[in-house]
Every structure is written in C-alpha cells, then in structure tokens.
C-alpha cells in the first residue's frame, strides 16, 4: 500500500465517521459542526485526487459559507424546540438506504472498470480555469443567472408572507375609528372603511367591531 493509498483510506475513515456522527445527532447544531469536519476531509480528498482548485472551493463555499449560513439560521430560530425526534418511518428510510447501498456495491463490483487503479494527475488551477472559460463559458453564465434568481427569490420570501406591500402596510398601521378607538384586529378592508366614512354603514364602528 502506497502512501497515497494510506492517506485515502485515512481520509475516507474521517469522512465516513464525521458524516455518520452528523446524521445521527438530534441537535442540528452538533450535526452541522460534525459536517464541517466531513467537508474539510472532502477538501483534502479532492486535493489528493488532483483537484486543488475544487479543494479550495469546498473549504470556502461548503465548510465556510454554507455551513455558517445554516448555523446562523439555527441560532436565529431560538425559540424552536432544538430536539425533534425521528420520523415514525425512520426504519423504512434506513431500509431504503441499505437497499440503495447494496445495489451500489453490486454495481461497483460487477463493473470490470472498477478495478482500474487511479493514476495520479493534477489539474492546475490555471489550466482548469482556462478550460472552464473556453469550453463551458455558457454554463458558467447560466449558473450566475441561477444565483441571481436565487437571490431574488430569497428577497421575495424574506419580505414577508409573499403579499403585496399594500396589505403589509395595512397590517402594520392600525386603522383608527372616527372617535379615535383602534379596531381590535388592526385589519380592516378598505371598502368597509370608505363606506363608514361616507355614513353608508349605519351601525357605526363600535357595534360593528366590538
């Protein structure tokens, strides 16, 4: 066993252990911390398999940005019950995973090409970037548009309940009655308000809206 093979099996053990610990934690914050370890191991594995630029991207994007984003959201939802149990169907889910794994193992070992020993090669970041922007520049542009669409979607979702600004404004500004009392709910439709101001609604504000 060469040195590279020893490093690979060590990294594989680290990744599998960290992922296994991550998916069995009840508290999401522990799971995310274990997952950061798994992603750092994945970055080292990418470096071993000859993709140094991707290793850097995994550290920056996955272990850095995405996991920190999930940690922020977990801390944002403070009042949530931190420990939620498993679905009642978790046994079926595990069975599904085991079946999938068995099929994958059978496919890997039936494939005659799976015994081919990988030869070491490194895609230098300069060569990789040149290749990417010469051959797949359109895909890179499409991915940038995808990120822009995701940004717009997040802003729309975070603005509130997906309603227009008119209704949101009505919900935040309580409507005052003619004698200065507030409507209890603070929400009133504009047509009712206009009708009351014109005296069309006869029973006034207090009886109609106790």
């Amino acid at each position: 066993m060469s040195l590279y093979a020893a490093i690979f099996y060590l990294l594989a053990t680290v990744i599998l252990t960290a992922t296994g610990l991550a998916i069995t934690r009840r508290q999401p914050i522990h799971a995310v911390l274990y997952l950061i370890v798994a992603f750092l191991g994945t970055a080292a594995l990418f470096f071993l398999l000859g993709a140094p630029l991707l290793a850097a991207f995994v550290v920056i994007l996955y272990a850095g940005a995405i996991m920190v984003l999930i940690l922020f959201v977990i801390m944002l939802l403070q009042r949530s019950p931190r420990e939620l149990g498993l679905m009642p169907q978790w046994g079926h889910a595990t069975l599904l995973g085991i079946v999938f794994l068995a099929v994958a193992i059978a496919m890997v070992f039936k494939d005659p090409g799976s015994g081919i020993v990988l030869q070491g090669a490194v895609a230098q970041p300069k060569d990789f970037g040149r290749f990417l922007f010469e051959r797949y520049w359109l895909a890179v542009e499409i991915v940038s548009i995808l990120l822009l669409v995701a940004l717009v979607a997040i802003i729309q979702v975070a603005r509130g309940r997906g309603t227009s600004g008119d209704e949101a404004e009505r919900q935040t500004n309580p409507v005052r009655n003619s004698d200065g009392t507030l409507y209890p709910g603070g929400v009133v439709s504009k047509s009712t308000l206009a009708a009351e101001q014109q005296g069309i609604v006869s029973n006034g504000g207090k009886e109609g809206h106790p």
Partner: protein, 101 residues
C-alpha cells in the same frame, strides 16, 4: 498509483446513502437540508474520481456547478424554512397542516 476506482465510488455510495437516510428519517427541516448537502457532497466525490479515472477535466467542471447549485439550493431552502417557522412556529413538517381545514 492511488487506489482502485471502485473504492472511491464505494465511498461516494456510502456517503450518499447516509445522506438519503438523513433526508428521509429526520423530523427537523434543517436536518433535511443537511441530508441534501451530504448527498451533493457524495456526488461531487464521484465526479472528481471519474475525472481522474478518465483523465478529463469535465468531471471537475461539473463539481464546480454542483457547488453553485448547492449554494443556491441551501439559501433558498433556509429562507423557506425561516418563512415556515415564522408562520407556524415549528420546524416539524407534521405541523404544517394549515390546508387541513
């Protein structure tokens, strides 16, 4: 000379099935997103191994796109989780029964 190709694929399959179990079995929506991330990580490992096996850089280019899609997916997913939590006060998808009447 590193390792046989099948061993790397086996590692990717193991990680993918772990992510699948995490995705389906957990009751917490954030753990569901974590499961999706684990599955994408497994796919990325398989792509890099295939790139080295055939000595082509297309596999690595795909991993770059996987990273971008994962970033977009998790950000939109977390925004939806926060929205659902604001509306219902729970992260349990069993509590999302507003339409039940």
């Amino acid at each position: 000379m590193i390792v046989p190709f099948g061993h790397v694929f086996l590692l990717a399959g193991l990680i993918f099935s772990m992510g699948l179990v995490c995705l389906v079995a957990h009751r917490n929506l954030i753990m569901t997103l974590v499961g999706v991330e684990v599955m994408m990580n497994a796919a990325a490992i398989a792509f890099v191994a295939a790139a080295l096996r055939w000595q082509l850089m297309e596999g690595q280019a795909f991993v770059l796109f996987i990273l971008a899609v994962a970033a977009a997916e998790v950000s939109v997913g977390l925004a939806l989780v926060v929205g659902a939590y604001r509306r219902t006060g729970s992260l349990d998808p069993d509590h999302y029964d507003i339409l039940k009447g």
